[in-house]
Amino acid sequence: MDITSFLFFAFVGVSLLIYCLVPHKFQWLVLLADSLIFYFLTVEPYTFIYIIISVFTVWAAALYFRKVDDIKKKRIVLALTVILNVGILVALKYTNMFIGTFNYWTGKSIAEVNWIAPLAISYYTLSLVSYLVDCYGEAFEPEKDPLKLLLFTIYFPQMVSGPICRYSQTGTQLFEEHRFDHDRVLSGIRRVLWGLLKKVVVADRIAMIVNVMFDYTYIFSGLWVIVSACLFMIQLFFDFSGCMDIVTGISKCFGIILPENFNVPFLSKSVQEFWSRWHITLGAWLKDYVMFPISRTNSFKSTSKKLKNKWGKWGQKIPYYAAMFVVWTLMGIWHGSSWKYMIGQGWFFWIVIVSGQVFEPVFKKLKSRLHINEKSLIWNAFQVIRTFLLVSIGNIAFRAESLAQTFIMYKRAFVWNNGITKQLRAIREGIPDFGGIEALIVVCALGIIQIVCDFRQYAGKNNQELITKRPIVIRWAIYYLSAFIVFYFSLSTTSEFLYFQF
């Protein structure tokens, strides 16, 4: 079921009505039924068996931790359950990548498999692993009812593109009483509308331009490669954050607050900061459940100490950089079963972040020689633009068809091209149904609103107040205008959300 379709919103409307009418003890069952309906209407029903295996094993292991005191036994059960669940994810999503790589290096031609993964497997597996590890660490009481853990796993708004939820954040909310609250529902609908504007009006239109630029790389060389990379980054933001706005808004209508996945990423001053503001729940998960556990093992600590004694502070950092390499490899591979993700989404950013830290003393000296005032607006703007360019260049791999095309794009960036007429004509001819000048005006206006909202949010201001503090007539005029723009300017060929594939 497409979450920008009329069917989906009708489904949400009816669900919300039933949810608000039934007694409290049945409310979570309504959400469970909704989630099951959503699942079975969206993907192959038989894939649900994988979810049942995952939920059941995690549920049983978590209860086992509570009953047994033997730490060794607990560790074994934890390891086996994690291996089983991550194993299912790896087998279903990465087998073809392994086969392809094997065939490439050996010259053999083993046939690819045709296994269908359950919906949102890359998201819910991480949620379940976090639940398991938290139960192992006795962060909270394990859930006794397997159906409740099933709801936490397949709660339908998060089954599109996340966010990756923690049981401590959403688990309890799912089972609390939520009566109809006019302000809360309206606030949720506002967020949904804004998300729809971002996705179906802006992202899908930028996608048209980006598609032309990536499909005809021989025309768009030189600086055009950078332009196309930047445009794709903007498209990705409007697409993914638009999707998050829709699902977060829908969830809010039900009274369940999902964790935020974005916090003004484009105003980041470093790549490291960017990744703490972009896809926040994935970065936080990798930090908490991969980086932390690795850095706290005895072998890591002893290696770190040895290297510190040998080479001082720099030596101490080497094991951390190695652990970061594992994290960024996982970050890359999480995005897809292709080497292009491993390199563009993983190792590229690892190299940028680590080299930034290694050469920091050099940069500091350089800044002092050049008398750069780090608090000046120009320096801050430079940092923001530099970060945006770096993440855009890394994300070329995300959009490119393959690793080979990624490298072709990088190579073509160094082919001199000062043309503009041919390129603009190619864009114009490549996208006949953009929607005319009025569509361009609407896209630009929404872009400006996004920039204003970003600066306000960065300054700690509440963007909802931009609407809620207006007189009722203006408020409703904005709602109707937004709904009209969504209907009028949405494209007939709306594309799938870019993060839906995971």
């Binding site: 590890v133 938290d134 660490g137 006795e138 962060a139 401590s168 490291q272 703490s276 936080a284 930090k287 908490d288 980086m291 932390f292 850095s295 706290r296 600590k301 770190s304 502070k313 101490q316 950092k317 951390y320 970061m324 830290q357």
Partner: protein, 82 residues
């Protein structure tokens, strides 16, 4: 060991980890107050504090503490448990 003594020791370790002698953390300090306090140095800080006091933080304490004060609460809890 008194709370202010623990905070003083905490500051000593923090200065060493951040490589900055001017760092003076209070109960209200957060990572945003210290330029050198990023996710990597946070792990070093946690590791050095654990070694110094012979304790082990839980994941929730490492990533859930909102400021130095909350971190100290967790640290004191572990010291008292020993």
């Amino acid at each position: 060991m008194e709370r202010n003594e623990i905070l003083a020791k905490f500051n000593e370790i923090a200065r060493d980890v951040f490589d900055n002698d001017e760092v003076e953390l209070t109960e209200e300090s957060t990572a945003a107050d210290v330029e050198e306090w990023d996710s990597l140095s946070h792990l070093s800080l946690v590791s050095d504090i654990e070694d110094e006091f012979g304790i082990r933080f839980t994941l929730a304490e490492i990533s859930g503490s909102k400021n130095v004060g909350e971190f100290l609460d967790a640290l004191i809890r572990h010291i008292e448990k020993k």
